[in-house]
């Protein structure tokens, strides 16, 4: 009981001189008010706990370095100022970042989507690619050539006709035959090319 009567400034001096119990007394004396102050600003127990810890780490660092502690000022108001500065600094840093917590009613994944394809869709697209290659290989060589140039190399019909040394109409015709033939192969073999 006697210890609770010791003034803050004396306890701080005792702590600076190496008495670790003095800090425990100070924390015990003011933990409720400091924690309440932090909680009133952040409205989250876990975050308030983090700030409480960070505040006292700063207090300890400052006192142990004997850098600054104004004995005339009150210990509590000094600690509250440190806590307030920490919260304000973090708020300034994070003011553009909206914080959302996962709860039972609200799942964070309802607004965040994973854009990467699933294993299933990867398997399906691999299978479609494999089937498509097999179908193209069934086509006559001149049709294969036009189709590959148009779809895989994204060449224009003008470029294709120049590259294959035929007229543009022939290239267009080969393309039409290629697509018709592919449809026939798909129907004949009952291949499904949709995901």
């Amino acid at each position: 009981m006697a210890k609770s009567q010791v003034p803050d400034s004396v306890l701080v001096q005792m702590y600076i001189s190496g008495n670790e119990d003095a800090l425990a007394t100070l924390i015990n004396r003011y933990q409720s008010r400091i924690f309440g102050f932090i909680y009133s600003k952040v409205n989250d127990r876990d975050i308030a706990d983090d700030y409480f810890q960070e505040t006292f780490i700063r207090v300890i660092n400052t006192l142990k370095s004997k850098k600054y502690y104004d004995e005339k000022g009150k210990f509590l108001s000094w600690v509250l100022r440190i806590a307030n500065n920490l919260i304000v600094d973090d708020f300034r840093k994070n003011k553009n970042i909206k914080m959302l917590r996962d709860t039972e009613e609200f799942s964070i994944f309802s607004i965040i989507k994973d854009a990467t394809p699933s294993v299933e869709s990867n398997l399906i697209s691999t299978q479609i690619g494999y089937d498509l290659r097999k179908i193209i290989e069934e086509l006559p060589l001149d049709q294969q050539e036009v189709l590959k140039m148009r779809f895989f190399q994204e060449m224009t019909f003008k470029e294709i006709s120049e590259a294959t040394n035929v007229s543009m109409n022939t290239s267009l015709g080969r393309m039409r035959y290629a697509i018709n033939n592919m449809r026939k192969i798909i129907e004949k073999n009952q291949i499904y090319l949709t995901a």
Binding site: L23, Q31, F35, Q53, I57, I60, S65
Partner: protein, 47 residues
């Protein structure tokens, strides 16, 4: 049966940090030592 309203706490329970947090702070304080050499402070944390 009538309710005993007088038993209900009117004041909110005290807001306190977790015991683990306090313990961590006290352990940090015990482990930390600051040595001043010239104008510089060297912090060491004994594990």
């Amino acid at each position: 049966m009538a309710k005993l309203y007088s038993k209900k706490k009117l004041a909110a329970t005290k807001m306190l940090p977790k015991k683990e947090t306090i313990q961590l702070i006290l352990n940090y304080s015990k482990a930390l030592s600051v040595v001043k050499i010239g104008n510089m402070n060297f912090k060491t944390i004994a594990n």
